[in-house]
Amino acid sequence: MSELAIEMRGIVKRFPGVVANDGIDFDLKRGEIHGLLGENGAGKTVLMSILYGLYFPDEGRIFLDGTAYTHYRPAQAIRLGIGMVHQHFMLVPRLTVAENIMLGQEPSRSGVFLDRDAAIRKIRAFSEQYGLPVDPNAHVEQLPVGEQQRVEIIKALYRGADTLILDEPTAVLTEQEVQHLGEALIRLKAEGKSTVLITHKLREAIGMCDRITVLRKGKVIGTVAAAETNDRELAEMMVGRDVVFTVQRSEATGEQAVVMTAHGLEATDDRGVEALKGVDLDLRQHEILGIAGVQGNGQEELAEVLTGLRSLTSGTVKIGEADLTGRDAHGFIQAGVSHIPADRHVRGLVMGFSVRENAILGRHREKRFSPTPFWQLQRAVTRFSREIVDAFGVQTPSVYTRVSNLSGGNQQRLIIGREVTKAPHIIIAAQPTRGLDVGGIEYVHEQLLAMRDQGAGILLISMDLDEILMMSDRIAVIYDGRIVAIKDPDETDRRELGELMLTGATLGENKKAADPS
């Protein structure tokens, strides 16, 4: 038995247009809790998916207990003792806990009859042994997320896992549940199990792990012992310090009247968990207000409440003097808010519609396209869609082409063309450059700056700190559903922003504020 449970050497995984893993070396000791830390898109999940057999690596080898493999499938990974708990649980809601756990491994009596009692006994034993309380007879759909996660962990153990991969396990948990999870991981460790914990939360990594490996842009930045590192060092490893400017931003000029005021915004996410916990913001004319933050800190929900797509549980939104609290998306469109949504396939475009039909999505009620709800001016729609295609360089065979046949960059150009030609005075741009190549990114940046210079107030939400630093006139940092700081980009740097994004406070100088609880 080798000391290393897992050893990954020179792992390379490419996806079209991006190298997700660029020669990664990673090892996991037996009986160790190893944190895998990095920003979104750093390649953590891809690396662990390779380990679990979901992806084949393009290059590199994996040593499991000393034996070399180039690739294998998940079924084989399970047989080799690897279990993975995904961010989105893979449970059948209608079945009971026991049924879910034994799915695919059903114990049987004389080969025919399901031996439910044997399974339940085994589950209870695991539950006891590792301090993972679950009720084998409860239906999964009725369980809180924390318990569902325990079910997933027991499922992996039931299948004989010696190595557990947990993908962002704490993202869905309450503070107390995180604590319980930490205790369970320590029990597992005592039993000789090894765990990989994927996370982007610094404190959890330090608090729960033995060693931490930091990834950035597909590469290993370093592996450190948790006891010998601190928040600051890890933050610096995660976000780096190099900033590459591709667009020259001029100083904002013109009037600076407030166009949008948000006060005390509170909202829950799709699971009903509190996502915004009292956001105050004001957006001015002639400015780009960047929202910096690590994904999952409430920025998706913020974009949605500011465009009427998600209802507030508390707080008010005003545009100019008009109170838009409680209005739906239609109301916000009428009030002159343009929205470049984070997910173009789900929100921004109707994928089954043509370019032409998508060019008027959200604008289809404008009088020039539709004098009455029962009369749509086809020529006006076609002409307008051609204008957008020409002016914004959307590469498409024709305006009648289905939009799903366009590349991501061209889809984004279409959305931007549609949204900025409204001459809006407010633009909510959520991750407007996600998934675009360098040319596309530059194009989007130029358009946004042009809109700002024409007087629009732009709220730019981005996970990319470089983008925020480059584009913003003011930077607001969102952490755990609150705006924790508003900074002038000329008076801050990546390190300070990184600390704010990752911990909700600047480290060192202000110990008290660093601990929000």
Binding site: I333, G352, H364
Partner: protein, 355 residues
């Protein structure tokens, strides 16, 4: 199944027409095998099928008469389908429309033409109301419209059955049958292909095709409805009130089915007759699918099914085979229509071979 049907709805008319015809051809091919295996004469069956459907003026009249309500129920299905909803209840909506039309036609006194229009309108509104209920339940309570429309269908059939039963309020005391009194002459649709039962109802169905097409593809309201069907989240982003659209879609679906019932009363039977429909509402589901959710396609789909119904009767009379063979063929057509990937792979396989 929903995703399969959705992808169907998305398919483009022109490029998909060939696939549709191929599906029909395949269905007939498999039908031949079944006939052969059953020991029936294939030429005799098809000769009688043709004869019964298009062989002479009477046969053509039969086909058109049966196709008329199917056009409307197909439109009913496909309109809701375009909004991402399944209207399985056209049969019941048609019964409700028919009884409302029959009541207005028999008991109201109005001048000619106007009376027909009012009676037709009453049927349309009654159908729309019957469609509104599942629409409202879907939007406000999330009730699965697949189930509610189908169950309300049985309610409608039972309810109308009661109304015209011997002790029901609308029972025709002059006759032993479970039916309403006859519609007055002022409300009746003129027959246009004597001596067959083809009436102005077929013109009404034709107009409905044009209106539905115009609504779906030439109005912003129809645009919104289709957007909801394709992507509720993107529609919501575009400021569409998706729940209202769902209510509208099912109400309009009910309206179209109600018009189908009204046409049967005003053009074919001149009264509400219990059990008048041999399943036109259910045929609409198949019709909407064969039409690939396109209103113009509904005409051809309905003609195909009307012809199969009319031809099937002739096959039965001739003794060449049981008349149920028409139902078998219809089932096969639907099977091949909702297995487009299978048909497409056959096309690819053939292309590969010829190379």
């Amino acid at each position: 199944m929903r995703s399969v049907l959705r992808s169907l709805g998305r398919s483009h008319l022109v490029s998909e027409t060939g696939i549709t015809f191929l599906s029909i051809a395949l269905a007939f091919g498999v039908g031949c095998i079944i006939l052969w295996a059953g020991g029936f004469s294939i030429p005799a069956v098809f000769a009688n099928l043709w004869k019964g459907a298009f062989g002479n003026r009477l046969a053509l009249g039969q086909t058109l008469t049966k196709a008329t309500p199917i056009v409307l129920t197909s439109l009913s299905f496909l309109l809701a389908f375009r909004c991402g909803l399944f209207n399985i209840g056209a049969e019941g909506q048609m019964y409700v429309g028919a009884i409302a039309t029959a009541t207005v036609g028999a008991y109201l006194r109005l001048p000619v033409v106007l009376h027909a229009i009012v009676a037709l309108g009453a049927g349309a509104l009654a159908g729309a109301a019957w469609g509104w209920i599942p629409g409202y339940l879907k939007a406000k309570r999330g009730a699965n419209e697949f189930v509610t429309t189908m169950m309300l269908s049985y309610v409608a059939i039972g309810l109308t059955d009661y109304l015209v039963a011997p002790r029901g309020p609308l029972h025709d005391h002059a006759a032993w049958a479970n039916q309403t009194a006859a519609v007055q002459a002022t409300a009746r649709f003129a027959r246009i292909l004597r001596p067959t039962q083809v009436s102005w109802a077929i013109i009404v169905a034709g107009i409905a095709v044009v209106i539905v097409w115009y609504f779906l593809f030439r109005t912003s309201s129809g645009y919104e409805l289709r957007a909801v069907g394709q992507s509720p989240t993107a529609a919501e982003y575009g400021g569409v009130r998706t729940q209202r659209k769902m209510i509208l879609a099912l109400s309009l679906a009910g309206l179209l089915a109600g018009v189908a019932g009204a046409g049967e009363v005003l053009g074919t039977h001149f009264r509400f007759v219990d059990g008048f429909s041999p399943g036109y509402g259910w045929d609409g589901i198949a019709g909407g699918l064969i039409a690939r959710a396109h209103p113009v396609g509904a005409i051809f789909a309905a003609l195909l099914m009307g012809a199969l119904r009319a031809g099937g009767m002739q096959v039965q009379r001739s003794g060449a085979a049981p008349g149920d063979i028409a139902a078998v063929l219809q089932g096969l057509v639907i099977f091949f229509i909702i297995a487009p990937t299978l048909v497409r792979s056959l096309v690819r396989w053939r292309k590969g071979k010829s190379r």
